[in-house]
Subunit: 141 residues, 2 copies
């Protein structure tokens, strides 16, 4: 049974589910930073997924990236699967602005995370729900 | 006509071509660091590619990642499309070891690049040629 890695649980909020992936919000208010986690067990590299799941993951990442670019008026979208610290396969999809705290560097490890308050998380959950297509199921709060 | 971004030209060696992407070696000997550049004009976000090209790019990244994991006995493969500095769409596929200079952090901006010498580049070009499947065309030197 799929269980979200405990470190991801600790550092993120669950926003909802796409057909393959759980959609998380990274608890760092410096950047609109989302993470997709395919609900599959024992997978750490993208190429360990079935061919069908690989296509679905990439499609979900591209979908989320395109939706976020428009909804957040991003200057750039960063998409990455690293997994050096948390080995459970997860794909970062991050909204970047030329004015953000790390630009142009990648966000990882650049500055200490700035936690969200509850109202901000609720607003982001609702914002995502309002822009994502029908295959996205927003989590009940 | 597709032209490789001048900064990518400056900082990499061309190793060969896959059906969609040019395959580059980043000139940083700290990490076996490869970059795929879809041979398409005026594309900076992965979702700006056609649906067919998106599938091809992801498939090429997964293929390269899987081949490299085995050929280099990687502890982990990092795959990312950032594009904050060089906007021409390009996908990093990087071999990581727990003992490398940046681990577990991502490689970008962590340490100054350590340039390769010609013999090392030739050896890596040959190594990749020997492990990649038939749709990969190794560049003449």
């Amino acid at each position: 049974m799929f269980v979200l890695d405990s470190r991801l649980q600790q550092d993120t909020f669950v926003l909802g589910d796409l057909p393959l992936s759980r959609v998380l919000l990274s608890n760092d208010a410096r950047y609109p930073w989302f993470i997709l986690v395919p609900r599959r067990e024992d997978v750490s590299e993208v190429f360990q997924l079935s061919a069908e799941d690989q296509q679905a993951l990439w499609a979900e990442a591209a979908l989320l990236g395109e939706v976020l670019k428009d909804a957040f008026k991003a200057d750039k979208i960063n998409i990455a699967t690293l997994g050096n610290v948390v080995s459970q396969l997860h794909m970062h999809v991050i909204v970047r602005y030329r004015t953000d705290d790390a630009w142009p560097a990648p966000v990882w490890g650049r500055h200490p995370a700035k936690p969200y308050d509850e109202a901000q998380v609720a607003a982001l959950r609702e914002k995502l729900r309002s822009v994502m297509p029908r295959q996205y199921n927003s989590a009940e709060v």
